[in-house]
Amino acid sequence: MSLLDRFRDRVGSGSATSGDPLVDDLRAVLSPDRVKTDGAQRSLLGKDASVFDGGSAGPICYPISTNEVVDIMQVAQRHDRAVVPRGAGTGLAGGAIPLGAPIVVAVTKMRSIGEIDEANGVAWVEPGVINLDLTRHLTPLGYHFAPDPSSQQVCTIGGNVANNSGGPHCLAYGVTNSHVAAIEIVTPSGDVVMLGGLDPEPDGYDLRGIFIGSEGTLGIATKVAVRLTKNRPAVRTLLLSFASVRDAANTVSDVIAAGIVPAAMEVMDQRITEAVENYVGAGYPTNAAAVLLAEVDGPEEGIDIDADRIAEIGRANNATMVRVAADNTERALLWKGRKTAFGAVAQIAPDYYLHDTVVPRSALADVLDEIYAIADRHDLLIMNVFHAGDGNLHPLIVFDGRDEGVLERVHAAGGEIIEASLAAGGVLSGEHGIGVEKQKYMDRLFSDADLDHQNRLRRAFDPVCRANPGKILPMGHSCADIQQLRSVPTGVWG
């Protein structure tokens, strides 16, 4: 039987109503109200926050315990169905889009914050806990969870683990992989396995490290030991304005070259700054070509040394204005502006496509010039708001999907942005992942032999491609072949 036939077979031919043996088996192990098969739910969970459609959800399960996830995995095995884990669905690369009507395991009801183990510096949480809820819970105890993606008000810890999520403050503190000590997972074979541990050098291969960022293809996280980061007593937030994006980018590069690693360095161009000002009135200057939001934190003593040095480097790069947030209110407002940037663009056009590439910091200015030129060539409006300190670009193409032919231009421009980033020595994704969005570019970064080794890693966890098939690796590399099932045969879970 060919691989494709096997997958077709796995898609099954049951209807969406009860009486389907798969649904009956799932309802037998969960309570019936936590297995959804109605069209509205399946349509909703067939998508994520990306522009990609074509997803097709099978039955949707809402487990509330590790044991229930094991039960679901065993049912999936019996019926030879794929399983796709899902958090809040805020992913931007299509990583949670179900392909070929798999069982969708939504962990959003697994949202309890368990033991806060200060002596070991961790908190045990379930995967459905919302990122910001966790930090709010920890703040009175003097801690926070360091990764702070823009979606932190809704995204889940399970999703953060799946995408190795970052956020503005990961410049100094590192991305999710640096903030997770251990993960309990249910493997695609249905085993419960603890990856990593509370001790600093657990035995064996670093399965914890490779699970993080694997986009749900190696199993389902059911408990996560997140590291507690002590809150910083002192913070300085600087707002610098520039007459050109290049000056802002060069400032960022020079700060790092000077041996300073600020907590965050974010750049916004004029178009996005104007949108944000209209939206929340954060206090950004709208007449500057670019603004740089730089933050340093730590003990009160010595903090102004770094803040002053950043201001000085900014001035040396022609900053037209340097302002330090006077108090917490002003600081919070500046960050609100940055974090609502993507919401602010809704007033400009109904749709946007947010890209995510990483380039060497020293190449930022040149790549940005190229990105603006790409937008001009395709007659598109493009805005830039990005984690400049990491070289992590987030070009935002703003458009109205009702315009004829616009999607083709958006995708063409997106492809050119990726090529420009790779040509500058960059990589495909800094924090959004590969999902279905960038599979076709993987062979631009890696050889066939490299991709074969990535696939071997995957097979060690999941020899039959049960978990989230059709993601990350491009066509022709094993599990990816299920991609062809995006068009599910008529009469089944379509």
Binding site: G174, L198, G391, V427, E431
Partner: protein, 309 residues
Amino acid sequence: MTATLRNHDPALDEFAREVGSEGAVSIAGNRTRWDVGGPLDPDTRVLSAPTGIVEYIPEEMIVTVRAGTSVEELHRTLAERGQWTALPERGGTVGGAVAVGQNDFRRPARGDVRSAVLQVRYVSAEGTLITGGGPTVKNVSGFDLPRLITGSLGTLGCIAEVILRTNPIPATTRWLSSTNADPFAIHAALLQPGPILWDGTTTLVMLFGHEVAVAADIDRLRSLGTFDDCAAPSAPTGHRWSVPPAALSDVAALNTGAFVAEIGVGIVHAEQPQSRPPLDAGALLIHERMKAEFDPTARLNPGRTVGVR
């Protein structure tokens, strides 16, 4: 000048030819951790990895270095630009440090080895040069081969070259010693404690950062005991234990014999070896499959098993 992912390097090609695709093979660095993982099978060909710093870009905080280069040489070069890496300084090579994956005893000030390896190039069991990861600090482009290879003791591939993240050396570092301060109270009192070493009697603590911040930390410590300046210690020796940091509050219960504990981290350098439980069945299954996938004929570093200390 920017780092490129797959710059052609004849030295790596030659290394791949040496490793070849047949016969048991092991890579030796300076053999500072040669016994980790158990004894090497006899009749195994022992090779050396290529040497040399390929490219150092201080403003990007990355360095590309061949695996056979000594950590000492690497850090000497980086120090000229005020940087270092997380790799332990104990006489070994870059490839050895990455293959073993153990952290320096100054980890709280230097970071951990596994987060420092951004890209790895290794020769597979089939004799092919494989690249995983990329030259940027932030990267989620596919499965994380650098994390898999780091700490894998050469059982999955022969490390040829890595790109490492570098970090600025702090403006000031100071080591202090105390015989009457509670090491756990020191850890709790400092916002970003450096390494804290404790042998049951004496505590050594490293403070780092701006001079004024270090001075303020010293003021904070005064309420906890008497502290004197001391010389930077050399790396503790002995059997290496890894325990949850909370377990250090009752070291006696661990039966380590004489010890030096890394407070807040959980590494103990001890007279007695640590007895560790085997991996549970589910984890073991993944390990066995991983080994079979990457080294189907079991020719890479035979005799060595990850997890054997």
